[in-house]
């Protein structure tokens, strides 16, 4: 009877294993060296401060896209180079956004994505222009972002100019179809670049569809109380209240107007910061019949629906910040594939010539003119029975608009 060996591994197995281990140890560094260098992408969003939620949603969308790309093999034309996110927090402050640009430049960033707030995006992209580094605007409404002649700035989504034009056209159709019940409006907007710029455009264009602007009311962020604004609106008695505000003030203003039973033909917001699934589901009475022209995913896109399911499975909300940031990372990856390099000049050339298909969005083919994508468009939405329905354009409409809204009894 053979004695059991003290060592359960045979000599042959041991030698084979040792050889493999040695080869692995010595060969390892060679394999690591063979890995292409990661492409560093600077994500600058306000993840703290008064618009922290919006910034966090953008960061979530962008990092999810980077994970998805890396899992799919990275940038193939660059030997499978992975994208590496550099996370920056603008803290909702312009100067912090600019300092994040400088910090990331020192870390060798290939491109920036940001910044949600237009003033931060304007200053940060200007700072990136010094280094000729591409700056992709994921969210940022102001058209100043792309009208300063900077060659490094690209925006996939439409700015407030296009959104206002499309929203006014949709409102005009609704109003005419209902026998023109809306003849006057009060505009309530936040006092920053986004709200003020949108308000100026609205004030100039509403008269062209027969709607007289009776008053323009600006408010700070944060505003503690909208009672007086509701009082002024009631005293002016407009047919429409048109709003452009960030999330907190949007929700508070809508709730105050509802609580104070301000009777109107409609509430219509432009890029309404609070018009999302959470708002309509948690405040179905307040949000009922409110309308908004905003960025929205393509409801007919299987990829958009799949991403929506993934996001909702994590209890997060499928908001416009999320899918716009996701799409912009995909745009950058597409440009890197075409450029075959993270070199600034090559990447800028690839972005300028991009024909990227933004599969999540209801956009036409991408075509950048002075950094602004000409294929982007907004949708007009309405809150109906605790859900968000698309009411324009007709090809994407999921419900018929209710306009004018029923009066409070």
């Amino acid at each position: 009877m053979n004695q059991p060996s003290r060592f359960p591994v045979s000599r042959r197995t041991f030698l084979a294993g040792s050889t493999a281990l040695a080869a692995g140890t010595l060969g390892g560094p060679a394999i690591v060296r063979a890995q292409p260098a990661p492409v560093k992408v600077g994500l600058i969003h306000p993840v703290t401060g008064f618009v922290a939620y919006n910034g966090q949603q953008s960061r979530l969308g962008a990092t999810m896209a980077i994970d998805d790309l890396n899992k799919a093999g990275g940038i193939k034309s660059m030997g499978g180079a992975k994208l590496e996110p550099l996370l920056g927090d603008s803290q909702s402050k312009v100067e912090v956004g600019v300092s994040e640009v400088e910090k990331m430049h020192e870390q060798g960033v290939a491109a920036y994505i940001g910044c949600f707030q237009s003033p931060v995006g304007i200053a940060a992209s200007q700072a990136a222009a010094k280094y000729n580094t591409p700056f992709l605007i994921d969210v940022g409404a102001s058209d100043l972002l792309v009208t300063r002649g900077l060659k490094n700035v690209f925006r996939l989504k439409p700015g407030f100019g296009v959104c206002v034009d499309q929203g006014i056209a949709a409102l005009d159709s609704l109003n005419k179809a209902a026998g023109s019940p809306a003849k006057s409006a009060v505009i309530v907007h936040e006092s920053g670049e986004f709200g003020t710029g949108t308000s100026k455009l609205l004030s100039g264009k509403l008269p062209s569809i027969g709607i007289n602007v009776k008053e323009v009311i600006s408010h700070d962020n944060p505003t503690r109380n909208f009672d007086n604004i509701a009082l002024r609106i009631r005293s002016v008695a407009p047919d429409l209240v048109m709003m452009s505000n960030y999330q907190n003030e949007y929700v508070l203003l809508a709730r105050t107007l509802f609580q104070q039973k301000v009777n109107l033909a409609g509430f219509y917001s432009f890029l309404g910061g609070g018009f999302n699934y959470k708002f309509v589901k948690e405040m179905p009475d307040v949000s009922q019949y409110m309308m908004d022209t905003n960025h929205w995913f393509n409801p007919k896109s299987e990829k958009a629906q799949a991403l929506k399911k993934r996001i909702e499975a994590t209890k997060a909300l499928f908001t416009y910040e999320l899918y716009l940031s996701y799409s912009v990372v995909m745009l950058l990856a597409d440009a890197l594939e075409h450029a075959g390099s993270a070199d600034n000049e090559k990447l800028l050339a690839a972005l300028s010539a991009s024909t990227f298909k933004a599969e999540l969005m209801p956009y036409g083919p991408t075509k950048f003119v002075n950094g602004q994508n000409q294929g982007g468009r907004a949708m007009t939405l309405q809150s109906l029975k605790g859900d968000i329905e698309v009411i324009a354009p007709a090809e994407f409409a999921s419900a018929k608009a209710v306009f004018p809204r029923p009066k409070f009894t």
């Binding site: 993840v47 401060g49 939620y53 109380n225 009082l231 005293s235 929700v251 609580q259 039973k261 909300l317």
Partner: protein, 290 residues
């Protein structure tokens, strides 16, 4: 010229808002009066109390007004322990240390809240949210009327407590003469902790009264701190009655300023009061002369 009916409604709106400001300011002035420091963590602790109200409602369906005893009690205990375990121990008896510690606490609370709760806007929906009372041109939402009355009631109870109870008298004694109070056998450190706890309990009450009409995010408490500070200066640093009257005055000034000058310029009224009081009567309306 604004219609008198609109002005009347503006005054009522201002009083309703002022009622909440009073509670926030009373806590601040009580802490200042006794500890002689500005509590930089006031806004953050208000936010924390608002989250407590929100989660009580979300998880157990408890109405914000029914949550008053729970949140006030929890806020008092939190404030008391915060002083006993953190502020009192780390300050080493120096007022300037307390300032820095409360500032540090504020930063920690804000960021922990952001980490735990996220940055999304959270609101409480109540069945009476859309009920209102009409008085002329004014449509006063029922929750605001309830909050106004409850706020003044809580202030009156607190005033009585400070005036009549032994603990209240001890608090006033410490506020007036710390060393003398110690000499007559008052446990000054305990009074400091109690006062801090009561100040934070006021924030707990304010949170319950705010949530039916306001929202909470990790930065929402700070919206009330600057206005509360102005009220404390207007009423007189450390003056309980001053904070109550000052809160209502600031509420009305803010409201009428907004109506006459517009929402943004209307805030000038608050800043103007702040500067004028410092220039003309630095001790405030009810403050003791130094």
């Amino acid at each position: 010229m604004l219609d008198p009916g609109i002005l009347f409604a503006g005054v009522l709106n201002g009083l309703m808002a002022g009622g909440i400001y009073v509670l926030v300011a009373v806590g601040l002035t009580l802490i200042y009066g006794v500890l002689h420091i500005i509590n930089f963590a006031h806004g953050s602790l208000l936010m924390l109390a608002m989250y407590a109200v929100f989660f009580l409602w979300r998880l157990s369906g408890l109405d914000p007004y029914a949550a008053l005893p729970i949140v006030i009690g929890a806020a008092f205990a939190f404030g008391y322990l915060l002083y006993r375990l953190v502020i009192g121990r780390l300050s080493h008896g120096r007022d300037e240390n307390i300032l820095l510690i409360t500032l540090g606490i504020s930063i920690v609370i804000d960021n922990v809240a952001l980490l735990l709760f996220g940055g999304n806007t959270q609101t409480v929906e109540t069945p009476y949210a859309s009920s209102f009372v009409q008085l002329g041109d004014a449509f006063l939402p029922l929750p605001k009327i309830i909050s106004f009355v409850a706020s003044l009631f809580i202030c009156a109870v607190l005033g009585l407590f400070l005036a009549r109870s032994d603990t209240g008298k001890a608090i006033r004694a410490v506020a007036r003469e710390r060393q003398g109070a110690r000499l007559v056998g008052i446990d000054v450190d305990n009074i400091f902790a109690l006062s801090y706890g009561i100040g934070i309990a006021c924030l707990g009450a304010a949170a319950c009264l705010l949530m039916p009409t306001y929202y909470v995010t990790p930065s929402s408490g700070h919206a009330f701190v600057l206005v509360a500070f102005t009220i404390v200066v207007l009423g007189g640093m450390g003056s309980f009655a001053g904070a109550a009257v000052g809160g209502l005055i600031i509420g009305v000034v803010e409201s009428l300023g907004g109506l006459v000058l517009g929402e943004q310029l209307g805030q000038i009224g608050i800043s103007a009061i702040f500067i004028l009081i410092l220039l003309l009567k630095p001790s405030g309306l009810f403050g003791a002369r130094q």
